[in-house]
């Protein structure tokens, strides 16, 4: 069955929104390589609306020829979970509307390679709550932000299982969690 994985940047105190404001000092090539290694068997990138719109404003301007990650993002089929968007300017892309959790669960039953969710904390929260996320991968940036959207807003606790942890030279911690069976 296809795996649904999510990759987010998170501050040490659990803030996941606007990483472009606080994570940029912590970028390192080895981090990008580690993230891309996790996307090797991926044929679909899934987004929540906000992250899709942010990425759509930036990635098409990056030269796919010289940036493999830009190539991956620009070329790969994108799915956008939204009940309000009607057009998707950054293709190839399709809408997933209606019950998003059900839509994603159905995805896993279709043939294909893995699905990666980038950013999209609202979507990730819903999937965590529903037990539909297979892998949660976080780059934990060594900074306390103090306010902002957090990784998860409940209402019930969701226990997880740590499967990997790795430290980069710049102090960023990569952690990977699976569902707790």
């Amino acid at each position: 069955m296809r795996k649904i994985a999510a990759h987010l940047e998170m501050s040490l105190d659990g803030v996941v929104d606007a990483p472009e404001r606080w994570a940029h000092d912590y970028f390192a090539e080895e981090m990008l390589e580690a993230a891309q290694a996790g996307m090797r068997d991926t044929d679909t990138v899934l987004f929540g609306r906000r992250t899709y719109e942010e990425f759509a404003a930036y990635w098409p301007t990056v030269d796919s020829g010289s940036d493999p990650f830009a190539e991956f993002l620009n070329e790969t089929r994108k799915l956008v979970a939204s009940n309000t968007l009607t057009t998707l300017a950054w293709g190839p892309a399709e809408l997933v509307s209606g019950d998003v959790v059900q839509g994603v669960a159905e995805l896993t039953r279709k043939p294909g390679s893995d699905v990666i969710i980038l950013g999209s904390p609202t979507l990730v929260g819903s999937l965590l709550r529903a037990g539909v996320l297979d892998v949660l991968e976080l780059f934990v940036v060594p900074v306390l932000i103090g306010s902002g959207k957090r990784l998860f807003d409940g209402p019930e606790p969701v226990p997880l299982r740590l499967v990997e942890s790795r430290t980069f030279d710049n102090g960023v911690l990569m952690v990977r969690y699976a569902r707790k069976e």
């Binding site: 659990g14 965590l128 060594p142 900074v143 306390l144 409940g154 606790p157 299982r161 969690y177």
Partner: protein, 183 residues
Amino acid sequence: MARRILAGLFMTLDGVCEDPGEWSMPYFNEQVGEIITANMQASDAMLLGRRTYEEWADYWPGKTAEDDPFAGYINSVPKYVVSRMLKEPLKWEGSTLITDTDGIRELKGKPGKDIAISGSLTLVGSLLREGLLDELSLLVSPIVLGSGKRVFESPEQVPLQLVESRTLDNGVLALRYAPAEKR
């Protein structure tokens, strides 16, 4: 050399530190016990925020090491309570009031071992903002909670540096952070 202030906190993956009693219990293994014991042994004083002091002052006096190994430590360790609201004399034996950050700096300047903080999230936040916290030691449980007071709630950001990262057998992350070196 100035004494260091070390905050040791239980935290969920989504940054919640409040009321670890329940949600951290399943993840309290021997290695966690060893880390907490080591932190206690490295300190000879404890700094508390008002709320934590009031809760603990209601609970711990009268408990002995037989009730809970932590009782022996917490009842005998010199406690320094940071508060502008409380008045001396403090009811919990061995407690001294500190009313401002100058008092905290003064405490750091006295001879002694490390000064430990547990709970006291508001105080930890102030110390982080003031640059008075020397180490943030976190035990991160593999669970997301969704609500509850976070390790840091503030309009200001504080950059840190990762000093040590350890994965415990039960999936808990034992992380140590210090304030980021000034560039």
